[in-house]
């Protein structure tokens, strides 16, 4: 999820406020697919990806393309508006109740000494890890990935090399949202539950992880997310579970004050 954030930020050059809702829609699509297909997880992940991909295209058409010649803050505010619209529609569409995600491993776990590890956790981790590797390959080896990197570094130069910048932005954003959809489904599996309003806090956490790792850096986002998770769980273990979110946002503030460029961030990256 943080990785999706990072791509959007890098390629579109924009902080988006709609990512949380993209995740929610992906999660619910995955949830219904899971019910309809009687627990076909692969299909659910794929459906979550597809739904969010499409949503990504919509976001692009509504929030980014019309305001390209305007300041970045215009598009930013447009994403806030769209996010509110989508959040409210989600409550109408999916109901305001929390939905319980069936666990494909029937809550089985294996024990490693004193530590219990659920199969679901292993599965989620494996999928995320696999996606990271895949993404890394796409970004560094394919023309699409090169195009994304070119656009993120220098839009003007990319256009002068014959690259369709708008198309790259569209596809990059769609890809990022698609990944958000997958992460939504995975989150649902991890917590066994999804809720139409879970997007906001998720998005803030993803944002924190992204800032922590360094804005626009994909590796950084992965590391940031990982570290954030560790810190949060330490807080839960040492204080109480109520402190989980506090720790996340304390980290955000601390990073912004101490090292705004994050762990892997480049100094003075210009996002224009």
């Amino acid at each position: 999820m943080a990785i999706g954030y990072s791509i959007i930020l890098g390629v579109v050059g924009l902080v988006t406020f709609v990512h949380g809702e993209v995740i929610v829609y992906g999660a619910f699509t995955g949830f219904y697919t899971l019910l309809l297909s009687r627990g076909n997880v692969a299909l659910a992940l794929l459906a979550g990806f597809a739904a969010s991909w499409i949503l990504g295209v919509v976001v692009n058409k509504i929030c980014y393309q019309p305001f390209q010649q305007r300041g970045r803050e215009v598009a930013l505010i447009a994403t806030i508006g769209l996010s509110i619209t989508l959040r409210s529609s989600a409550q109408v569409l999916f109901g305001t109740q929390q939905k319980f995600m069936p666990d494909m491993f029937q809550n089985r776990f294996f024990a490693l000494g004193d530590i219990r590890i659920a199969y679901t956790q292993v599965f989620v981790f494996a999928v995320v890890f696999g996606l990271c590797l895949l993404l890394q390959r796409i970004i560094t080896k394919t023309y699409f990935g090169m195009a994304l990197r070119a656009v993120s570094m220098n839009k003007k130069a990319a256009a002068l090399l014959g690259l369709d910048v708008n198309r790259a932005i569209l596809l990059g954003n769609a890809l990022a949202c698609g990944l958000g959809g997958i992460s939504g489904v995975l989150l649902g599996m991890y917590y066994n539950a999804i809720h139409p309003l879970m997007g906001a806090s998720m998005a803030m956490k993803a944002f924190t992880a992204t800032v922590f790792g360094g804005l626009g850096s994909i590796t950084g986002a992965a590391i940031g997310g990982f570290l954030l998770g560790i810190f949060e769980n330490f807080a839960v273990a040492m204080l109480s579970s109520g402190y989980r979110d506090i720790v996340a946002f304390l980290i955000l503030i601390a990073v912004l004050i101490a090292k705004p460029s994050g762990i892997m961030g480049r100094r003075g990256v210009e996002l224009s």
Binding site: M146, M153, N154, K156, A157, A158, A159, L160, L163
Partner: protein, 226 residues
């Protein structure tokens, strides 16, 4: 910057230069051709195509390459990646590995220094090397016409001379060149013809040799009094 009545013609295998002082509208002219800015009126044709309102990336794909002012290389990509980026505009090239490698080889032949530095990040190169990289990246497209915006900007005179000699070699290889320069003296030395732009209008044009000896050009741009 507003342009008015700018009429430029570039023939095949020519080096044409557009000179003028700071703020005369040189870069604006190029941006207009590449369609990076909106034009209120006028017409631009490239061979038989009307490219006045063509999308920027399509123009590049037709073989009209624009090496922008300030080089605009990708600082966090290696030299070789930067060069490979150059073939985005050319679908034929980017899908044919052999042709791509040939293109790369050709660029390395012209700029041996780039071969030496091919694993280095673009941002770590010196100004002159970055300019060579920008030109090399443009050449990867095997363009018919190459437009260069102030390649001498911020470079030591020795380096500028090197780059201009390379431009002559690039022309020999069959690429037409439209060179935008503030350094009129150097530009007129290698160009066949030239245009002088002043406050958005062409005030003089003709053979480069004649322009170099024109008293108005001399006093205004070459820093010589007569």
């Amino acid at each position: 910057m507003a342009l008015k009545g700018v009429n430029i013609e570039v023939h095949e295998k020519e080096i044409v230069t557009l000179i003028g002082s700071n703020g005369a509208g040189k870069t604006t002219t190029l941006m207009g051709i590449s369609n990076l800015i909106r034009k209120r009126s006028g017409r631009i044709t490239f061979y038989d195509w009307d490219i006045t309102n063509e999308k920027p990336h399509r123009i590049v794909q037709m073989g009209l390459c624009h090496v922008p002012e300030g080089r605009q290389i990708f600082p966090y990509l290696t030299v070789e990646e930067n060069l490979r980026m150059g073939v985005f505009g050319n679908y034929h090239l980017r899908n044919k590995r052999r042709v791509l490698e040939e293109s790369l080889e050709q660029v390395y032949m012209l700029f041996p220094i780039l071969r030496e530095r091919r694993k280095q990040l673009g941002g770590t190169l010196s100004g002159g090397e970055q300019q060579m990289l920008a030109i090399g990246r443009g050449l990867m497209l095997q363009p018919k016409l190459m437009m260069l915006d102030e390649p001498s900007l911020g470079l030591a005179p020795v380096i500028v001379e090197q780059i201009f000699e390379l431009l002559l070699r690039i022309r020999e290889m069959g690429t037409t060149i439209l060179l935008i320069e503030q350094n009129a003296n150097m530009a007129l030395q290698i160009a066949d013809r030239g245009y002088v732009l002043e406050l958005g209008q062409i005030v003089l044009s003709g053979k480069a040799k004649d322009l170099a000896f024109d008293s108005r050009v001399k006093s205004a741009y070459l820093g010589l009094s007569c």
